[in-house]
């Protein structure tokens, strides 16, 4: 079974802090994604990576950056967290050319 894990289920940070959200997948998938989920807005793509060290912006990349140094790991970075970044963050992965995305359990981030 594909397994996508995220470093924390719940995280509380203060405004201005640098925040790292980690995602690890164990199926050798080439593609990895970061989404944020907000009520009424659905799942919005922040960034995705189609291969190691390669990335593409999604719909809402402002205020975020990403890092993919190893195939199995994709990190989302909030350089200076703000209260409007309080949200549920979901990571997903899939194989290149594949259709099915496999999601992690999510990290609920609260920025105070």
């Amino acid at each position: 079974d594909v397994k996508v894990t995220q470093s924390s289920r719940y995280l509380v940070k203060r405004t201005g802090e640098k925040v790292f959200l980690e995602c690890v997948q164990d199926m050798d998938h080439e593609n990895m994604f970061w989404y944020r989920q907000d009520p009424g807005l659905g799942l919005r793509l922040i960034y995705f990576s189609y291969d190691v060290k390669m990335k593409e912006k999604g719909d809402i990349p402002e205020g975020y950056s990403v890092s993919r140094e190893k195939k199995e790991r994709f990190s989302l970075i909030l350089e200076s967290a703000s209260t409007n970044q309080t949200s549920m963050y979901l990571c997903a992965s899939k194989r290149q050319g594949g259709d099915t995305q496999y999601f992690g359990p999510g990290t609920r981030l609260t920025v105070l």
Binding site: R44, E56, Q101
Partner: protein
Amino acid sequence: QQPVQSPQAVILREGEDAVINCSSSKALYSVHWYRQKHGEAPVFLMILLKGGEQKGHEKISASFNEKKQQSSLYLTASQLSYSGTYFCGTGAYRVQTGANNLFFGTGTRLTVIP
């Protein structure tokens, strides 16, 4: 590029039917449906790749109208286990990199009550 889903929420009694619609302002090449149960990760349900294609998954099926740029998910004789939020996703292919991603819709929260 985010598709719009309707309704935003629906409450059903067990055994009732529901339809969830997904519309896009851009041409659709593929539509993916996912379900997220409360507190869990979204899980893939099905994909429709051709205009006019219909697919079934137990009592959950979907259609894809390429001309109207929309897809519909049909849930018949609903069960308690169908409760959750349903998302459609429209495929996007990036020519320069060969990468493909999805733009997910706004979600439809379905609640089935006894």
